[in-house]
């Protein structure tokens, strides 16, 4: 196998001071972002954060108003650069009368050195679908077929927009497995997802976009630690509205039997809980999930 430094001297994709305006709307507002060789980068962000604009600039579908977007050091509009790219888009309805194998065959023809058909089918677990018409596939099977089209050209950079929407748990696990294999093989992957557990399961690095710029970037754990919130959960006779009055408590509510408390510094509150209610049981302290971290980050930008 080639070492990654041999393959990629610089970032595989980059945004440098990128602005994109539509009239008065600033979809991207000075975006700086690099995709490093061999990493799996997850881009998160609420609607309107600039995710789809960033993606369409990266794919060469639009030009930035200002700044520079590059893949493999070249403009995404340069065909030779795009031949190193594999794409899976969300808003696409492929020809229903085409068979899966035929769709892959067409996409393969765009690349200089595509994988053999059986390898693509094997890797994406679509062998059983190969002869089926695309229109007759289930939603999840369609995603798998699109995934096969995205990877058939041995891309060095794979771009996936919400890849596992509509997949059942098994198919999703399989796609995750294949993605990890691809990363091991040296492919860089950029994915957008609404499933935060997907980012947690796969991503080396998470970038959170808000209002057209990077709000936070780091590993899943780093993103979480930026937001220092902790969750305390226990069975107690204390009432949520009382606990909510304590200093350092951001939120307290009852979920079934348990009291769920969100705090910034857990230790002080835990001590107070134990002192106040000696019958307290099943105490758990955890870091807030990526979902909470993500909400907080994007709310801060909105304020």
């Amino acid at each position: 196998m080639y070492s990654q430094t041999q393959l990629y001297p610089g970032p595989v994709a980059s945004f440098a001071g990128v602005y994109k305006r539509y009239g008065n709307v600033h979809a991207l507002d000075g975006l700086d972002l690099e995709v490093r060789p061999g990493e799996l980068l997850a881009i998160l962000g609420p609607n309107g954060a600039g995710k789809s604009t960033a993606i369409s600039l990266l794919l060469g579908l639009q030009e930035p108003s200002q700044g520079k977007v590059a893949i493999f050091g070249e403009s995404p509009r340069v065909m030779d650069a795009r031949r190193k790219l594999g794409v899976m888009m969300q808003e696409v309805a492929l020809a229903p009368d085409m068979r899966v194998r035929e769709l892959i065959d067409i996409t393969s023809s765009y690349y200089a050195d595509p994988m053999p058909m059986h390898e693509v089918l094997d890797l994406t677990q679509t062998t059983a679908l190969a002869k089926k018409q695309y229109g007759k596939l289930s939603g999840g099977q369609k995603r798998l077929a699109q995934f096969a089209m995205a990877i058939c050209g041995r891309p060095r950079l794979l771009f996936l927009d919400e890849p596992t929407v509509g997949l059942d748990v098994q198919a999703r696990e399989r796609m995750w497995f294949t993605l990890r294999e691809l990363v091991k093989g040296g492919t860089s992957i950029v994915l957008t997802t609404h499933y935060l557990e997907e980012a947690e399961a796969l991503a080396d690095r998470v970038v959170v976009l808000g209002k057209g710029r990077v709000v936070a970037s780091g590993t899943v754990n780093e993103i979480r630690s930026i937001v220092a919130r902790k969750k305390i959960s226990c069975i107690t006779s204390l009432e949520p509205h009382d606990v909510r009055q304590w200093s350092g408590v951001e939120e307290a509510r009852r979920e079934h039997q348990r009291l769920e408390i969100t705090v910034t510094h857990a230790e002080k509150i835990v001590r107070r809980l134990l002192v106040t209610d000696s019958d307290l049981t099943e105490l758990e302290v955890s870091r807030a999930g990526l979902a909470e971290a993500f909400n907080e980050l994007t709310q801060e930008t909105a304020q």
């Binding site: 579908l61 065909m79 030779d80 795009r82 888009m89 309805a93 067409i106 765009y110 098994q170």
Partner: protein, 270 residues
């Protein structure tokens, strides 16, 4: 989880240092693959084959043969009728194939996907043009065969070849018009727009010897179908109303204008 994944059974897809330039053979292969599947899709779609193949053949059999009965028709008239039907069959595949097909693909995000993928320049459109040309060639061959076998039309091999050539090349301006329509309207709206242009054009361009008021006869010249028919008449050795070279120039200009307007629209809105 019930599915067990065996890592060993997977080929490890190591990134290769693939040539960044596409060899010419691969590039041609890409165009050919698009074209091949476009033809295949066309032949698989009865909703498309019926108006483009069955309709002209049926109408020709009815108007060109059955209606005339055993009355001897002057050879010029039979050739004119044949020319009209051949051109009728040329307009459909381009206009319907590109007009509706491209509009649908745009609406469904396929055009955007292909722009993001490294599809060679206009491979999808060239594939559609090739498919329309193939289909036209099939219909023309059918019509010429029916004409010479059942309608007692006498044709030399050279006349037949020239007529077929005009037909196949004549697909280009109508594909261009189809492209323009497909770049302007949505997939849902395209069939209506295409029909709204197709049927009046067939009548108003005087392809068939239907009675027409004098003013409309003169106005026929504004339609590209009129000029294509002029070329077809010339190919069959019949008298034309205009110098065929002028008609050829009009058609080339028309195709160029449609492509220019479509390209402008597509760069603006995608």
């Amino acid at each position: 989880m019930s599915t067990v994944i065996h890592p060993a059974s997977f080929p490890l897809p190591a990134v290769r240092n693939a040539p960044s330039r596409m060899p010419l053979s691969r590039l041609l292969h890409a165009y050919w693959t698009e074209a091949r599947y476009e033809v295949l899709r066309t032949l698989r779609t009865p909703a498309f084959l019926i108006p483009t193949v069955a309709l002209p053949v049926m109408l020709y059999v009815f108007f060109g043969i059955v209606l005339h009965g055993d009355k001897p028709t002057p050879p010029e008239i039979s050739l004119q009728v044949l020319s009209g039907f051949t051109m009728f069959s040329v307009i459909g595949p381009g206009l319907f194939g590109l007009g509706i097909g491209f509009a649908m693909e745009r609406q469904h995000g396929i055009v955007t996907l292909k722009r993001a993928q490294p599809m060679p320049f206009a491979a999808n459109l060239i594939g559609k043009l090739f498919s329309a040309m193939t289909l036209s060639l099939i219909v023309i061959t059918l019509l010429l065969t029916i004409a010479t076998t059942f309608a007692h039309v006498e044709l030399t091999a050279a006349q037949a070849m020239r007529a077929a050539l005009v037909g196949v090349l004549g697909v280009v301006p109508f594909c261009s018009l189809g492209l323009l329509i497909g770049s302007l309207v949505s997939g849902t709206g395209a069939p209506a727009v295409v029909n709204l242009i197709f049927f009046p054009m067939i009548y108003l361009s005087g392809l068939f010897p239907f009675p027409m008021p004098k003013t409309l006869q003169t106005a026929a010249m504004i339609w590209p179908a009129f000029h294509l028919n002029q070329l077809s008449l010339a190919a069959l050795g019949l008298q034309t109303k205009l110098n065929p070279w002028i008609s050829a120039e009009v058609l080339i200009g028309f195709a160029g204008l449609c492509i220019y307007l479509a390209a402008r629209r597509l760069t603006r809105v995608g």
